[in-house]
Symmetry: C2
Subunit: 171 residues, 2 copies
Amino acid sequence: MPDTSIPTAIAGTRHDHSRCISTAMTTARSLCAQKGVRLTELREQVLNLIWQSHKPLGAYELMEQLARETTRRVAPPTVYRALEFLLEQGLVHRINSLNAYVGCTHPRQEHATNFLICRHCGVAIEFASVPLESSLQASADELGFVIEAHSIEVVGSCKRCTDQGVASHEH
Amino acid sequence: MPDTSIPTAIAGTRHDHSRCISTAMTTARSLCAQKGVRLTELREQVLNLIWQSHKPLGAYELMEQLARETTRRVAPPTVYRALEFLLEQGLVHRINSLNAYVGCTHPRQEHATNFLICRHCGVAIEFASVPLESSLQASADELGFVIEAHSIEVVGSCKRCTDQGVASHEH
DNA sequence: TTGGAAATGTTATATAATAACACGTTCACC
DNA sequence: GGTGAACGTGTTATTATATAACATTTCCAA
């Protein structure tokens, strides 16, 4: 049985998050340089803000934080255009069920959008799994469906929240 | 290897759709009776409109069609409340990537939300797969994540559109 | 038959995203 | 170095999606 985890799935575990941020930013810069696309100051600022945590961030929250940070006024198209760029480059993902955006943990690999989303702490954990992809492909094949892209959004309780008993304090 | 298809996955294939509609309505009525919840005229109308096709329908389109059909004015909360009810009863699903709603093809079974969505004709094909669910569960287990719900949205080209060569006429 | 819960109506507003056009910056090419 | 076309950003307005809050009606059990 193949290893289905990705080594970088550290969201939802205790870790030095400043390293996540710096790694993400460095990777983004070199990736953009490689592709010959421009990671402008604005785009870098937006990416950096998104990477402040592993919790998906809404476009309007992002907008507010950006305005606060830069003093200049920021209108929706400003953030949406930056997000569009970052999505195209595979540097961020959109979480459809939350209308929110989160940094991609392994932008160098071709991959789909698979997330475990904790209902308690809000963290979105990106994951990959070979058997998962194969069974998805098998289902599609059976129905003659040609896959172009897919997104999996799983909602539940992450290890930390479960261990801390957050999940049981519900009403 | 287990059979991973569901017998009712006929969206995207040639079929007598009026039977889909009548089956869905009959099942809904008996299911609601069984559960002791009220499938009111409005809710039934909304469900019926959603079932006019296998293409997910937006809330505002639904609202317009409902207004046309009933002559009385219909405001957003009217449809959203009906949708909320139908979602709770498992009679419809929400397609997050489209902000749209589609009838559930097997509301009697406990199940997740898995869809193949054709980019060309718009049809959403609900499917289920045991191996898919197990590998998803395995991924979650590895990370200590407790699953409560999930949704899988696959975008691509359905068999009919692929066969008709629609997919190759793109620019 | 009546009173309370559930459903629906109504008005206003919140939240998310895009269209359209103006202005500025960058960079390859002359 | 100049220049213009492509790209990026600013700005205003609008569209699309969804919900809050409260009024009114309907249903059904006691």
